[in-house]
Amino acid sequence: MEKLKLRLKSEPVNRAKEISKEIVEDLMDLIRENTTTSIERTVLRLFGIIGADIDDTPYVNIIVKQLMKKGVLEMGASLYVLNACVHHDEEPEVIAKMVAEENLDLTEIPMGDYEKINALSQRLTQAAMDHIAKIKDERDKLLYETWSDPPRPYKYVIVATGNIHEDVVQAQAAARQGADIIAVIRSTAQSLLDYVPEGATTEGFGGTYATQENFRIMRKALDVVGEEQNRYIRLVNYASGLCMPEIAMMGAWEGLDFLLNDSMYGILFRDINMQRTIIDQYFSRLICAASHITINTGEDNYLTTSDAIEKAYAVTASQLINEAFALKAGMEPKYMGLGHAFEINPDIKDGLSYEIAHALLTRELFPEATLKYMPPTKHMTGDIFKGYAMNTMFNFVSVLTGQDIQLLGMLTEAIHTPFMQDRYLAVKNADYIFNNTFSLGKEFSIDDDSFISQRAHKVLEQAIELLEHTREVGLMQSIEEANFADIKRTQTGGKGLDGVIKKSPKYYNPFEGAFRRLLNLDDEVFEGGVH
């Protein structure tokens, strides 16, 4: 027998997907015509530039800042760095040091031999692409050949002590307890930093800084437990924010498996400028797509500021937009961790019917996606027992409706970032429910005139209405109207607009092309070229 099914009609589904595609299409010019400071820094990082000066400012920031100040960032940072490399016959990291510590002005170096620059560019680009491919292949091999992909829903937990070494202790314990996926939550407001901190960090608030070194430490720690347990343990971090593409690159580099990466989350929840985020998300998703990193979108967050029943359709609309953006970036559906959440007020009569309707709708709209299902958070209180019961039902709905990634609810959600025992209790709850109700979804069928079915169709219709309106006014205008998460943002407001730079016609960025070619994105290549 088949799993519980709504049997959505194909007409509205197709229509919804079509409209979403057009919404995203409409933004491709913005994406094509602009770069951002973070994209440029990403390119430099891909060239192998790491490290920071004594004030902890990363070299890549210093370089990009210099180029910006000089008004030449519109050409792309790579050109200047490559030119300097050729000029000094040094690797990019040496050039970076020279800029940072010896005040080398890149714009003062006369443009050298285009052929040499091109050759160097090709070598460096290839090296980076090779590394990313290697990391990707290693992971894929461990996951699907050496061991095997765990059964779904995957058990996903977070660690958030603020100290990467303490995080390791917690993460390893969680993995040993049975977690499939470990996310290291970032320190409060890291997403507002316009740079990525360097090195191992031990002081964060509500989370641990995302740094390349921290990624490496945690990846290694999980591999140790993986070996012990003969299974691969996935690692997650967060790429939303002002450094979206840089973190994506670091994730790809260090073997992360999932990245929180939403086309609108930063705009809505971190007040990051919308143009900035829209441009950044594209580049970061190219990297994810090329690296087989599963992105996780953040629709769950909408239900913390909006009502989960009233605004269910905004979740659906956003999922469709996120999907359309991801498709544009060449991402296969299975790497789309589209988000939704179990956030209905637990005191609502028949709330579970709504939850099931919404969960099934997401499941059937995106049959191939690796859906991410978020636990109750907003209605969690200090009553940890009620919370544990809510998490039980959340786990139940997940397995009943065939979700993929289960972000396990913590009974202490309203109190603190998780203690070791909280996570343990969460894993055990999931183990109990996933096993005890394993095939239950195959036992029942839903009639077309049932409340659940009607509800799902209604939410889809409402989502289509919003999408239609959004297509009409454009996504940015729609966000200005507070159509998503009830949060209003303006096109020129928020943080990071100063980091959006209109590309010159001579703009150069070898990676965009490299990724796009890898991903068979057949529309014109944007990176320009060295002329």
Binding site: V169, A175, E203, F205, D271, T305, M420, Q421
Partner: protein, 244 residues
């Protein structure tokens, strides 16, 4: 009156505890859990569950009977005292007693991005069926949202001549809220604003006691409804005007 926790017999002192110890699950760990709880003044302790957490940690559930009681007469409750009026009453009160609109500036400050609590108090919609301050005729509300730097908040207060500043702090890990809230107070003092403005702070881990400690006039904890805040503002403003 001396009181003790209650399980099923008056003054039995029954309590439930759960915790993690940095020991592998073992007879030793179980005994350690028991000894720990005994050392804390428990009797008839039962380690009812011990579970290995992996990597030298175990989780315990313990039931025991504490010998510690407390005398309720010794308990000091630091509680804000004000009359709770409804929206219409507050509006009338302000009209009659103050005679002008009160200017309210609200923000979640510094690194904190949580707005739901603040919005619950300020937005039209309100909270738990109680309308927010924007709905009141006699409040002029500026909701600056979240992640507002203390400096920007103060600038705004000056600009709109705020009567009241409402600050929200939700994230409390490693006492980040104490740091943020102290910063605001220090700046307000430095700017000579503290006297003129009623300063209130709210959040799920905020108590009135903590608010006073940090130099605020009042603290609002979980479950606060807007009309409580409105009532407090109106009555306090009137008092202040009288005392001037």
């Amino acid at each position: 009156m001396m009181i003790y926790p209650y399980g099923d017999t008056t003054n039995d002192g029954a309590m439930q505890l759960s915790f993690t110890l940095p020991l592998k699950a073992s007879a030793l760990a179980k005994e350690a859990a028991k000894s720990l709880v005994k050392k804390m003044g428990f009797e008839k302790t039962e380690v009812v569950s011990m579970q290995d957490l992996g990597g030298d940690f175990s989780f315990f559930v313990v039931y025991g009977h504490t010998t510690t009681g407390i005398n309720t007469d010794d308990i000091q409750v630091v509680e804000a005292k004000f009359d709770h009026m409804d929206r219409v009453q507050v509006d009338e009160y302000i009209e009659e007693q103050i005679g002008r609109k009160l200017v309210v500036v609200g923000a979640t400050i510094e690194s904190d991005a949580h707005t739901v609590g603040l919005d619950a108090i300020l937005n039209m919609k309100g909270y738990h069926g109680d309308y927010g301050l924007e709905r009141y005729k006699n409040f002029e509300v500026y909701n600056m949202g979240s992640q507002v730097l203390c400096e920007d908040l103060i600038k705004k207060c000056k600009e709109v001549k705020a009567d009241v500043v409402l600050v929200s702090q939700i994230v409390t890990q490693k006492n980040i809220h104490v740091k943020n809230l102290s910063k605001l107070m220090d700046l307000m003092e430095a700017e000579g604003l503290r006297h003129h403005i009623i300063a209130a702070v709210g959040g799920p881990r905020i108590s009135h006691e903590l608010a006073l400690e940090l130099g605020y006039d009042i603290g609002f904890g979980p479950g606060t409804i807007p009309s409580q805040v409105a009532s407090y503002i109106a009555t306090t403003k009137k008092e202040r005007l009288e005392n001037e």
